[in-house]
Amino acid sequence: MGISRRQFLGWLGAAAGTSAVLGEKTEAASNKVFKGYPGSFGVLHDTTRCIGCRKCEEACNRVNELPLPKIPFEDLAVLNTKRRTQSDAYTVVNRFINNGNMQPVFVKSQCNHCLEPACASACFVKALKKVSTGAVVYDSSLCVGCRYCMIACPFNIPAYEYNNPLTPRVMKCTMCHPLIEKGLLPGCVEACPKEALTFGPREKLLKEAWQRIEKYSDRYLDHIYGEHEMGGTGWVYLSGRPFADIGMRDDLGIQPASSYTSGPLAAVPVVVGLWPVLLTGIYAISKRKDKISEEERIEAVSRTKANANEEMKAKLAALKDTMTKEKEAAINLEVKRALEDAAKKIKAEQPESAKDESVNISGEEK
């Protein structure tokens, strides 16, 4: 356990440069660069040395106590078809024949133990995590079995026990984490007869890899796969052929997976902070509008009521007026007639009594 606890954490002043590389605000805002656990281990896989003997597969199967496959490991015919990691095979070797005259290239694939694992970032119960030895380990006592880690892994590594009905686990290489903790080599590295696999602190492996590239520049491409891919991986690869030709994607980019999701994740708290304000505001405005329109309605009703009253009064007064006039006219007519009658009577009898009667009648009307 030669892990020195040196603090690799540094602060970067050039905020602009950092955010241009890292992109998302949440991390750029902190101005931090995370360099991974200091002294964490990795494996260098030199594909130019691999002979496809499948000894690593056999060792892996033994160390991890996986069920023995039907076809024995000595049978190299399985290399004729492309394989991927399975729940009972944490590592597989594939053969790539691109140009007929060239020698085949063998590539071992297993969990790359990313520095910033997509699977751990995707796991909603923290069942997967990167530990200080450099291994990405899995805790089946927490796993719900949602398989989001398998969606997230850019290398399509985690496998699932689909035929286990009630306690299925996600299965993948552990970098032999229990062995590393005991100071032992991972099973596959131990078993490799050609030193195609080199175990050690990742920093040293990168230096070693660059030395090999410089020394044998015709043998290797000028690229270490995994040095930066997806934010860097614990397992790094050397090849003489373009990595895209040997089944390794060269379009993954150098951003860690968690940087793709940090944007939407950062939106979550802001929505929780702002939505209540916005929604309550809209509610208050609509409620206030309701209130104003209600008040206006009431006012309008009372105004029409008042108007109606006045109109009624005016109408009544007018009616009264005309009625009085008509009546007066009628009375006057009657009075006239009575006077005429009386005048006739006076002519015949006494003039006094008829005059009194007319005064009485008009007095009553008023």
């Binding site: 991390e27 991974g36 968690s258 708290p269 309550t280």
Partner: protein
């Protein structure tokens, strides 16, 4: 407060966890504050 984070993942895990708890508090706090804010004018509104 001086926790050292070696990986971005650890940093995010920590900051998100704290933030999730915080936003729960903010949500409840905002609700209570609204009640406080409108506490007086509520009575006038009856009509």
């Amino acid at each position: 407060m001086d926790t050292i984070f070696y990986t971005l993942h650890d940093f995010l895990l920590h900051s998100k966890s704290v933030t999730y708890i915080l936003i729960g508090g903010i949500l409840i706090g905002l609700m209570l504050f609204w009640i406080f804010l409108t506490g007086r004018d509520e009575k006038k509104r009856t009509f």
